[in-house]
Amino acid sequence: MEPFAYRRATTVDDALRTPGATFLGGGTNLVDLMRLGVAAPDRLVDVSRLNAEIEETDGGGLRIGAGVRNNDLAFDGRVRERWPALSEAVLAGASGQLRNLATTGGNLLQRTRCSYFQDVTKPCNKREPGTGCPARDGDHHNLAILGWSERCVATHPSDMAVALAAFDAIVHTSRRLLPVVELHRLPGDDPARDTVLEPDELIVAVELPPLQVARSSTYRKVRERASFAFALVSVAAAYDGADVRIALGGVAHRPWRATTAEQAIRDGKSFREAAEAELAQAEPLRDNAYKVELATRTIVRVLEELAS
């Protein structure tokens, strides 16, 4: 690990006083990437103790501080009652001890687990722009089927972000408000940038607007072992007969809001037709075409459960 200066921020304004610094949350991804040599920040500003509250907003929403630890978010009675898929999604991620460290802001900003990105002996356009993407012809069985580019086929690993995408959550940064579905980018020609955040822009909170249908929601994660693994495919869905929200994880460079499927259901199509309409956009790689059918079936299964 390269040497770095460390400073614990006392306020958001204080956190922004070190231009060019890297913000440290729980460190569960960043410290690992530093140890692997993938990240080498020279200044860390610790923001993990800022904004650690979950507050009610006018109208029945919640404002989740960026420093709220994943387990505290998942255990919150209001989240469990009004946005159960969010609690389930958080609990589906990582392990109990990692969730005690990981923060809400840091979870959103975790990097892909693409094995080439995490291995400094391999080329990777995300880690070292212009060096190429060995995943396209290599091990990509768990990489993207939607929205990828010639330069990058990585997926975003967060479970929490998938539920937030389904629930129209709004990210509050030190500069602006941003729908969470606009926070993460597709890779395009610039896969080094995971998000639209600018340097020295800090996530301070995530707002959950009130959403009636979210009370009837769930999160389903399909993985290669029963627990503590990243998703092959995941689905956050809310459905109550009148309204519907669907987002997919494990399939793209960002949480994938399934607006095509949602519209198809509003138009009276079957769950299967709606899921197929969404996945019609998929362009699977050599070894991950299974994800197309897996995502389709998982959407159908989750909606059927919510409908029954």
């Binding site: 690990m1 040497p3 460390y6 569960t28 690992d32 255990f75 392990s95 109990g96 627990s227």
Partner: protein
């Protein structure tokens, strides 16, 4: 150039004031500086759980915690643990080689507290899911689950 920084924290009830390289992990502090070798370095990437300690009462992977980020914290390692679960592990023979056991114990204590806080009922499936961050290469899982169910 290494960056050195003062840190003060409490480990198993004893306060320590040290000057450390900012790169020092909490796990390395415990093992290399304080001689508390109960917490194990298995993977050093947060994947195996052998380094699990209680940080301000909550289970955490000591390998991924920068010591400077734990400044002011209260740490309990297996050496400072006194919990009926330890007797239950012996009673149930919940280990073979024992390498993962300190992490299993700290993790299970933290997990039980989390279940209480969340108001969750704890059954075997729940224990298996919530303890999935602790790997046992000997495969002592059935007896680990039984030991946890005993307390």
């Amino acid at each position: 150039m290494a960056e050195l920084q003062p840190v003060a924290l409490t480990v198993n009830g004893t306060r320590h004031e040290l000057v450390l390289d900012t790169r020092s992990s909490l796990l390395d502090l415990l093992r290399e500086r304080l001689g508390l070798t109960g917490s194990k370095k298995g993977c050093d990437h947060g994947q195996c759980g052998a380094c699990t300690v209680l940080l301000d009462g909550r289970r955490a992977n000591a390998c991924l915690v920068l010591t400077v980020a734990a400044d002011g914290c209260d740490v309990v390692t297996v050496e400072g643990l006194a919990h009926p679960l330890q007797d239950a592990f012996v009673e149930r023979d919940a280990f073979q080689c024992g390498y993962c056991t300190p992490g299993q114990l700290c993790s299970a204590v933290g997990m039980l507290e989390e279940a209480e806080r969340a108001g969750d009922a704890v059954d075997d499936a729940y224990v298996r899911e919530r303890m999935s961050g602790n790997i046992c290469r000997c495969g002592a899982y059935p007896n680990i689950v039984a030991a946890i169910a005993d307390v």
